[in-house]
Amino acid sequence: MANDTTPILEMRGITKTFPGVKALSDVTLSVARGEVHAICGENGAGKSTLMKVLSGVYPHGSYDGDIVFEGETCKFRTTRDSEERGIVIIHQELALSPYLSIAENIFLGNERARGGVINWAQTNRQAADLLKRVGLDEQPDTKIMDIGVGKQQLVEIAKALSKKVKLLILDEPTAALNDEDSAHLLGLLRLLKAEGITSIIISHKLNEIAAIADSTTIIRDGQSIETLDMHGAEPVSEDRIIRTMVGRDLENRYPSHTPTLGEEILRIEDWTVHHPNDPNRVVVDSAALNVRAGEIVGIAGLMGAGRTELAMSVFGHSYGAGITGKLFLHGKQVSIKTVSAAIEHGIAYATEDRKHYGLNLIEDIKRNTTAARLGKIARLGVVNSAKEITIADQFRKDMRTKTPSVDVQVGKLSGGNQQKVVLSKWLFAEPEVLILDEPTRGIDVGAKYEIYEIINKLADSGKAVIVISSELPELLGICDRIYAMSQGRITGQLPREEASQESLMRYMTMEKSGATR
């Protein structure tokens, strides 16, 4: 078991080149038996590439260097080879089939069967055992689409356990989870560690790393910079990790900003939204909020609290059914029932999921930039392409979007630069109220700072900004006022000076019965 002092895994001198790019350069990684080993690095640093080399996604021969697992040099040709040795990777985008049951998913590709005929009794019984092991209280025949992302993550781990995993690799496992589910997942990792399973966890969330990792390897620009012992004599601070990740000091993760508040621009009262597929389910429950010109207002809440649903329902009823309540712009009540009407009224909503809902990835930067208000550069329905280029280029300069030209496909940009295109697109629409849903999700530390600066600039130019974020430090760092939501209701609001992670969390976890009407 854990008495073996030789590392369970050693990767030596790993170099991987893609046409034109050196993704990994002489990377070394040593993972001790039975530990939780974190890997940190900015987006694009090469973390995922390294894990793909390890798990055989990139076959032996397509990279240089050695992989030694349990003292044996391995030459994986496929992920199947690595899984046979007990190395299982859980990707960021979960690989589950929504219409199949939990049990079917667990044994997908590894069916409990004889002669091609599935043994359902065995499948479901073994699945139930695995679910117990990961602490998931669901029936094996429940369909994946009926459980939340947090539980799906646990199903992925159950699936890994079914393969007799020795080394479990998790790529950003908590990126889509709320704090509660994240905590459960981290607890599970500790449990598995006690059972002797080694884990590698890739994460952006430094507090998580501090909480769970035994050692941390930091990768920057395709090179392994250093490995930190998290239980060493000197405690490892988050700033210490960030500094190594970005290769420079972060004096301040949030730009300072003094707001100049103007008149109230948007206000909602008694705003109630029902689920589109289930008209009896209340998703947003008599919410009220307001935002003034020049103000940055945050909305905090755990997953499922109804933050996105609230924002999208305000944005031209783009989510929900049976929407009731009053919406005021500049103190005047308005009725806005389509997205185009919302845009015309000066409301913009930048989605949390830019790849699926925000951008047309196969189209270029300039066309994405103008997409929300093409009419502005058109006459009689004919688009003025010259104007379009000039405008897109101006946004490229203002936002400092890193691209050789505005006719580059948006899908080829990094996350941070894609987000800048999303912001350009909504600024081009000239909104008065800008709702930003998770504006820095999946963006590396350096680019986040730039996004914050842009948000500040927007507020200074007199726009009302609403920021929805799952990262409480971010809300505390950039917002002037923060609302907290729980179970579809706004449970409290705090000015920046009075807000803390603890006080917000109290409101965010407030139960329905405990809240005042």
């Binding site: 420079r248 000091d249 066309r367 997409a371 350096g446």
Partner: protein, 410 residues
């Protein structure tokens, strides 16, 4: 160690690359436009192969004219089909719509005493109404286009059989000339070339040159990426040469400039403009590329879908008129498999199977490839069953090439 700087530091920006040599840039440019050129190259190779194989029969002036006249309906239908496929739909009904509208057109002229020009306009409008019917179910009720147009395929075939019955023939020759005739020889001959055709060819070549030069100037003025100068000039020369050669062939043919070619050319120009330069066109691409994102950008997706099918109906109306005029009569069995011809042309012409990508000019080239295959295989006495097999394989090969090319590009 690294110096401590406050963010945002001028982070190491990925350099777009040093200035490449002209030849390197040219190679890179050609590599990046593989799909476009592969399609044209395939057309040229297939044509030359048949030209060689038939000892020069393939490109005889009169054969080229009948190639255009025979395939005019595909050109017209595939324009609408590309737009529909780009938006992420499909239309299986156009063959039946052609039969139905074509039949009504013939009935109007022969039995209801409508003057043929009026009948033509009414037929196209009837096509639009048919499109509105299907567009209503697709856009506003939300039934997948595949289902609605599969229903339409049966529905309009049935109506065609009901109302047209047996052949409605004896259509006036002026009407038939829309598909079979040529522009009259107003200007006499230049040598033995038809002067009207030469004039139109010259205008087309000049228009091509002017528009290309203007586009390039616009790009240069805005400091945008342009194709290397050599490629630009080469393309222009080849384009003008192609127009010139076609003009020479047509001016040498028995009739001169086919009327139907003028119709098709105007439609191609009009719809290319719509797809490239109008808000409507942009919205079609935006919906095909990412439907939820388009909705959240304020695109009125229902309206766009509805209009797309109305438009397909109008174009089916045009194709119905052309088909009826070409045959000189209407039959209920007309337009059999036309939807498949149009869909195949769109896909061979590089339209993406999942929508979002596709060009009208590409689909026209796709249609030409199919047309040349049809004609070449017929001249070389390949039996119809083998023609079908070959065309089926070509369709699969074209899309496979596209997909493999994309995969390698990753």
């Amino acid at each position: 160690m690294s110096a401590s700087t406050t963010l945002p530091a001028p982070a190491a920006s990925p350099q777009p690359g040093k200035k490449k040599s002209e030849s390197g840039a040219l190679a890179a440019y050609l590599g990046g436009n593989m799909k476009q050129y592969a399609m044209i190259a395939a057309l040229v190779v297939i044509t030359l192969w048949f030209q060689f194989d038939t000892n020069g029969l393939m490109l005889l002036p009169n054969n080229v004219v009948s190639l255009i006249q025979q395939n005019a309906y595909v050109f017209v239908l595939t324009i609408g089909m590309v737009m529909i496929i780009v938006a992420g739909h499909i239309d299986l009904s156009v063959g039946s719509v052609v039969a139905f509208v074509g039949g009504i057109c013939a009935l109007m002229i022969m039995q209801w005493d409508v003057a043929w020009p009026v009948a033509v306009v009414l037929s196209i409008l009837l096509g639009g109404i048919v499109g509105a019917w299907q567009g209503f179910w697709i856009a506003y009720v939300g039934i997948p286009a595949f289902i609605v147009t599969l229903g339409g395929m049966l529905l309009f075939r049935g109506l065609a059989i009901k109302y047209v019955g047996t052949t409605v023939g004896g259509l006036p020759s002026d009407f038939n000339a829309l598909a079979n005739g040529a522009l009259p020889n107003w200007l006499g001959f230049v040598g033995n070339l038809d002067a009207v055709t030469v004039l139109i060819g010259a205008v087309a070549a000049g228009g091509l040159a002017v528009s290309q030069i203007r586009t390039r100037r616009e790009l240069v003025r805005n400091d945008l990426r342009t194709e290397p100068f050599a490629a630009f000039v080469g393309k222009l020369v080849v384009g003008i040469a192609a127009v010139g050669y076609l003009t020479w062939l047509l001016a040498n043919s028995a009739g001169g400039m086919p009327i139907v070619l003028i119709i098709v050319a105007l439609l191609v120009l009009l719809y290319s403009f719509i797809m490239n330069n109008t808000i409507f066109g942009r919205h079609v691409y935006a919906m095909g590329g990412n439907l939820p994102a388009a909705m959240l950008s304020g695109v009125k997706t229902k309206r766009v879908n509805f209009l797309l099918f109305v438009n397909m109906g109008l174009l089916a109306g045009v194709a119905a008129v052309i088909t009826t005029a070409r045959a000189g009569s209407a039959v209920a069995a007309a337009g059999q498999n036309y939807e498949l011809d149009a869909i195949a042309a769109a896909f061979i012409g590089g339209t993406a199977v999942n929508g979002g990508v596709g060009k009208i000019t590409g689909a026209i080239i796709g249609a030409l490839i199919m047309g040349v295959l049809n004609m070449g295989l017929s001249i070389t006495d390949v039996t119809p069953e083998w023609q079908m097999v070959i065309k089926g394989l070509v369709l699969i090969a074209a899309v496979a090439f596209d997909i493999l090319n994309k995969r390698r590009g990753k």
